[in-house]
Assembly symmetry: C2
């Protein structure tokens, strides 16, 4: 029979997959002799089994839990429900990957009508004991039994009113006893049965609740955002309680071995005396900086420093620790590799190499590619910032600049963001329920909480700028307004700017400037480049984007979307003239006028690339995208005047171009088949530009001409023949020639399964995984949002397949195309240019299947370089 | 070096692929000693090579042609260009499959300024000689050199005017000499060079022209319609000319060994004295019945009868023969298995078995499944027909009834048919250019031509009703009207009805009745059923269709589209109520009202099926399809009143349901994921109906519940769990149960490549190849017509992939799904329910890949049965 339960003494840090991060680290800390309240971990496999068994805990698992419980009692020298010294435990989730606040926790488990008196006697503090019991009842009822918390809050308020007091702390021991009595009655009323007195029942129900919480909506959302597979499951940690709220010689705190915002090598954190750990994390009371503990409890502080140092050396990474002091004795409740900002991640990784703790490749793995995003995005324009006066200042919890319209609920912020608005989420404090709204906001502002509050931790993880604990504002969520200490009022939709690096908040939208990358960035990226095998190119359509991408390390252009060049004001008229042409001759005349403009673009881009390769995709979108909408009467009339035709005729053409499913309509290479003169013009634009730049600069240029949306070999053969004939003409005209390649995007499922044939014509493939995902799933990207939420909720999909390549399905089509493509043309050049090209997990897939390069937007180039390095190093280490 | 040219003495009937049908049969007739003008065949491989070599004839092929030409001269004892007895030849195409009139022919080749005098001397008929020469010049210029025929017609008309004569026959030998002179000048004017005098040049250019004609638009259209691959190529037959126009002891004719309309065992055909073969086929002069030749040329007729009998026995099939009598001597110019109506095909096949010439399986192969269509479609209602008086009568060229609006050009008819109109093509006579218009018309009416005219032959092949040679009408194409002998005038768009079985033409639309199938039909289908391995089911949504399909031999329902049941007038309001519901409760209320109606439908269908299986597909289309269009104000207001809501709210909902690409939107199983209550209702409707019919009738019913549009295993698992939970409830409620299966349509590419996983949940797969073709190609069926014509023209696609399964691409996805599906669930039941299920070539594919059944529309069930038999027999014979 498999072992489903491990005492902390039986595990170690390498058992993370089985024990979860928290469980493995509690075991490891136990092993290296640190003061850890003892207990046991129910494994992630037990969680998976729980779901496989139809959400029940099998008898053999239950038995192992009871056995472990007895052993834990022995270790603690206490007994569950003991009238003198009851054994109390916490029950917490702990998955393989850290998911802060996403799942449920139960504290003070083991209390019942008898044990509460034992606790009162032992601590000589009846008020504490009854307070603990009423907290446990409330928490158990809420988390485990789904009795809404508000019923308990109402009862507590009633008692306070009766006693004529305001705060919880004003209630006496006797008052608390009354609260307990009433809470037990509330429980019975809503559940139809007494509050369970048997700690075994309390425990088993709590473990089930933690397992259940793995599947709650906010956990599912968090996993989707962080690429954590559903089938990993969570472990459950049952640990002896220690109390930071036993008086002034007790306390609790959270600390990092280095500064998680900047990476500075300095102890960083906060603590509260006479408090429970949840008080710090939840941000309800504002705690003190950890360093001040040096004065309040010097011995404990020194002990804590020593432990911190030991842990960082042991784990060879910055640690995020939770501790509790119970009557002067220090207990470690948790350690884990700390979350940090991108800048901090870079600095810590480089420092750890310099300190001799890590190799270069190990350091590369310490930085999450997704995080780099924050470094690469704009900050406020310095001049504009200097001219602005902040109306409020809070704690700089997550760096970066964000500006937008304010919303006071996560729900409202999410809805507005989905409507395309730039949104700032402003909250009294955030809760785990706010996760989606936080993710979709440009920045976050809270009035309460410290640097390790929920808002701060989550925002840093997301790379979202955040200012927290901003006491200069007062938020009235109900009224939908925020008032500053100076009396200024902001309503929903008002615009503000937030600087997460300084903690300052400004009125209006402050313009932003490009990010500049620091020395640590360059150092680490250099190590990454040494390690990776995949090339990284960029998707760029302008010389400016090209320049930016080259600065970010792009090794060429993997996708130049030529249609973007068509939308410029002075060109769209010509493009429309071309589309509205009745005859090939008219169409050719319009194309003749477009040619020099498009050629000029390519010349500039070839120069910006300085000899790096460029893949040019031929015109792709359906033609109606270039025309005004049918109901834009004024624009149509203008156009009619310009083109010397009638508005009716233009409307007629717009109607003729209407398609029921434009995504699967007349676009891509289908345009070149029906109007080969467009392909001729584009061939001229690219090749003539290359010839000119070659002549002017001596650069060696080998343009890669990419025909999109190919589904059959003959389709490509036809368009290629147009390209080749045109090239031949150009070379004859100019009495000069250059090398060039003709290839195709693989984005049609049929192309994947006939890639051997297509490769006979194509010198390269570039996977267009956006469209391949659309056609492969039969999901219209523009429409799928309507039902994808249900898919996530019901666990049918774990991630948005447009953001993260569906390796299991669409990936199979890609692999088939690779295998067949190589069969058709050994050594064929392979890349990817869909948006997945900038997604780390998809990049890992691209590495594994052996692509030559990925191509992504300029700002994702560094992310792709790092992700490619991760893939290569992980493969080597495997 | 391969042999590219065969003398008729070197080939035989088995070399059809290499020599084409005509060439192989000329060789075979030569072998069995029949009188055949000798010559040679340039092979289909030479044609393929011509295209591979960039449309040039390679020197080695050219040399072989010259060598064969010399040998043919020797055999004939004549010489090209001889001034006394010039060797003249015809050059004709001949592909593997018969493509009548689709490609080009050149006659009298070998004539030049010198040889024409030789011919005049030899025949002692200068007028004939000059007439032959001018015809050759005109034909060569038109067909080979692309000089438009009208230039020659104009010149001929000019000469006639100058000479004051009306008919060609009124021109004298001297006049014809003048015509020749002018034709040579016309040629020189348009080509800038003299008419080629060297017969070698004439020959080589003519052969190239035939090769080119393989790729002309009408040939491409014909091939697409008849599933003939482009890469087969055509052979070219060069044959010594014989002349049926050398006087009254000469003639030419076309005959069938049995009646191609009815299958009666009687000689059937026509001939013309003093005429060339083209005169009969083109329908310009109305010929005499073949049997009258018994009187005019009894000896020749007896000889012809003997040859006919010999050929039919030799080929063991009805023969279609062309012959020429030159000065009393009979020559066979062609024999081939004759085209015939479906009824004739059945009768001939059954008769040949009874006569001991064929085995049952051989007879099954003699009937083309596509042809059966004509037998299964309606004829005119007898009563209505008796009440009607025809306004015209012609020759009953192709049986069946057709009614619709008249069009006088093939182009106009095709355009109207594409607009969804029922169209009758009315022409003076049809030409090969009319092929598409004929195909898209309901029936064809011509004023001229006989039973073997172009219109008649092609219409019979298509199964299109046709009346030809109708002298009661006069057609003025220019004016767009038809006048009857009684003076009645019909304009374009007027409605008429045509009975191709009787030759009668009626005014207005006569109602039609179902077809009844004859004894030969039943006999042959019985043989087919013995031979086939595939089951044949039907797509049916009503008890009536089900009944019809069962009569046609359907073995069950492969696809019941439940949404069709939703469109009935009394239901659509409820469906709309369901769609417009704001809450699940409202939606459930509407569904509760729909349930008994849908259940009743299923009860009736289960009874109609009498225990045969039924696959029920759950709701598939996007919901907006059930709502009025946004601009249908009145209907929306009605609906608002019915549902006690506002029109604005309904418009808002319609807008909310709008999708950019509905084909890839919120439909299929995605509806069941977002609104599981719909799947619950449908499960209830099917299972409760099955339980009731079981109880009432004792029939054993195993419903097959099919979830559409599945792309992932988890999607199916989720919907299946809804189905299973509902089934459990029903069985508990009723204290009774039945077996049922849950499966899926495979129509999403992703489902094909993950079919192993999906099969773990699915008890059966039914391939929805319509959608699979859409997603696999990325072709929206509703939009693709806009560019598919270009694809056919440019040879990128050979067939409409929605009509004929693209075996090379979409077929690979199907094969992958089959292999993986069987891996996931050995013995999984497999079928197809897309429209390809009724297409013979696709059915052959389904047989090969080992599906259990095909499902098609009721009227295609017999076609599918026969096609399945063909596939099985051909496989056995291979």
């Amino acid at each position: 029979m498999p072992k489903y339960v491990y005492l902390f003494t039986e595990g170690n840090a390498s058992m993370r997959n089985l024990l979860g991060g928290k469980g493995a680290n509690l075991a490891e800390m136990t092993n290296i002799g640190l003061p850890v309240p003892q207990g046991f971990t129910v494994t992630t496999e037990a969680c998976t089994k729980y779901y496989a068994d139809g959400k029940t805990i099998a008898p053999e698992v239950e038995q192992q839990i009871y056995d472990a419980m007895h052993k834990a009692e022995e270790i603690a020298g206490k007994k569950f429900g003991d009238i003198n010294d009851p054994f109390l435990v916490s029950v917490r989730s702990g998955s393989r990957a850290s998911m802060p606040g996403m799942m449920d926790t139960i504290l003070n488990l083991g209390l019942n009508d008898v044990a509460v008196d034992g606790l009162a006697k032992l601590t000589d503090n009846p008020r504490f004991a009854y307070d603990s019991y009423r907290r446990f009842i409330e928490m158990f009822a809420d988390v485990v039994m789904e009795v809404e918390r508000k019923h308990f809050v109402a009862e507590l308020d009633a008692v306070k009113a009766e006693k004529g007091v305001k705060g919880d702390t004003d209630l006496t021991a006797e008052d608390m006893k009354e609260v307990v009595k009433r809470f037990l009655a509330v429980y019975k009323k809503h559940k139809g049965e007494d509050f369970p007195q048997d700690p075994k029942v309390q425990l088993m129900e709590s473990i089930k609740a933690v397992f259940r919480s793995w599947d709650n909506p906010r956990a599912n959302y968090y996993r989707r955002m962080n690429d954590i597979p559903y089938d990993w499951g969570t472990a459950v940690n049952v640990q002896a309680m220690v109390f930071g709220n036993m008086g002034d010689d007790s306390g609790t705190g959270v600390a990092f071995t280095r500064n998680p915002s900047t990476g500075e090598n300095e102890m960083y954190g906060e603590y509260l005396m006479n408090a429970q750990g949840e008080d710090v994390v939840a941000g309800i009371r504002t705690p003190h900086p950890i360093k001040t503990m040096h004065e309040s409890m010097p011995e404990v502080y020194d002990q804590f420093l020593a432990i911190s140092e030991k842990l960082e050396k042991h784990y060879r990474d910055m640690q995020d620790m939770e501790f509790t002091i119970e009557r002067g004795k220090l207990y470690m409740l948790q350690t884990r590799n700390g979350k940090r900002t991108a800048a901090a991640a870079l600095k810590i990784a480089v420092d750890l190499v310099n300190e001799g703790l890590l190799s270069e490749e190990e350091a590369v793995l310490k930085v999450d590619p997704r995080q780099l995003d924050t470094l690469l995005h704009p900050n406020f324009d310095d001049k504009a910032l200097k001219a602005a006066t902040p109306f409020a200042t809070g704690l700089p919890a997550s760096p970066g600049a964000g500006a937008g319209e304010i919303y006071f609920t996560a729900h409202g912020a999410a809805a507005a963001a989905k409507d395309g608005k730039d949104v700032i989420l402003v909250r009294e404090e955030t809760t785990p329920e706010d996760i989606e709204g936080m993710d979709l906001s440009k920045a976050i502002l809270t009035a309460r909480g410290g640097l390790t509050s929920h808002a701060a931790v989550v925002a840093r993880g997301m790379g979202r700028p955040a200012v927290v604990g901003c006491h200069d504002i007062y938020i009235d969520e109900e009224a939908g307004k925020m008032t500053t200490t100076s009396g200024e009022v902001f309503h929903e939709g008002d615009k503000i700017s937030i600087d997460g690096t300084t903690g300052k908040v400004y009125k209006g939208l402050i313009p932003t400037v490009e990010a500049s990358v620091t020395g640590d960035f360059a150092t680490l990226m250099g190590w990454a480049d040494k390690a990776r095998r995949l090339s990284v190119r960029t998707n760029a359509d302008t010389p400016k984007d090209t320049q930016q991408a080259v600065e970010f390390g792009a090794e060429g252009i993997g996708l130049c979307r030529t249609e973007h060049m068509f939308f410029e004001a002075n060109r769209i008229a010509l493009v429309r003239e071309m589309i509205l042409a009745d005859t090939e001759a008219q169409r050719r005349e319009a194309l003749r006028k477009i040619l020099p403009m498009q050629q000029k673009d390519f010349e500039e881009m070839f120069i910006a690339l300085q000899g790096r390769p460029m893949t040019v995709r031929y015109l792709d979108p359906p033609l109606h995208e270039f025309l005004p909408q049918k109901n834009m009467t004024e624009e149509i009339e203008d156009l009619a005047r310009q083109l010397n035709t009638t508005a009716d005729k233009i409307v007629e053409k717009i109607e003729a171009l209407h398609e029921f499913n434009p995504m699967m309509g007349h676009r891509g290479c289908r345009l070149s088949v029906t109007y080969p003169e467009i392909a001729e013009m584009q061939t001229r634009a690219v090749l003539q530009a290359a010839l000119k730049v070659k002549k002017d600069t001596g650069l060696k240029i080998v343009p890669e001409l990419m025909i999109p949306l190919i589904g059959t070999r003959k389709e490509l053969a036809y368009v290629k023949s147009v390209v080749m004939d045109t090239a031949k003409k150009i070379f004859e005209e100019q009495n000069d020639k250059i090398e060039f390649m003709v290839g195709t995007m693989i984005e049609i499922p049929r192309a994947c399964v006939t890639a051997d044939e297509i490769a006979e014509e194509a010198e390269f493939f570039s996977f267009g995984t956006n469209d391949l995902t659309q056609m492969g799933f039969g999901f219209s990207r523009d429409d799928a949002t309507k039902f994808l939420d249900s898919y996530y909720e019901k666990g049918i999909l774990e991630a948005d397949p447009f953001a993260r390549l569906d390796q299991n399905g669409i990936g199979k089509l890609v692999e088939t195309a690779i295998t067949l493509g190589r069969k058709g043309r050994p050594g064929i050049k392979l890349g990817i240019c869909g948006e997945h090209g900038g997604d780390p997990s998809s990049i890992e897939f691209c590495h594994k299947v052996g692509l030559n390069y990925v191509s992504c937007s300029p700002f994702r180039v560094p992310i792709a370089r790092l992700a490619a390095a991760h893939a290569a190093i992980n493969e080597k280490n495997a």
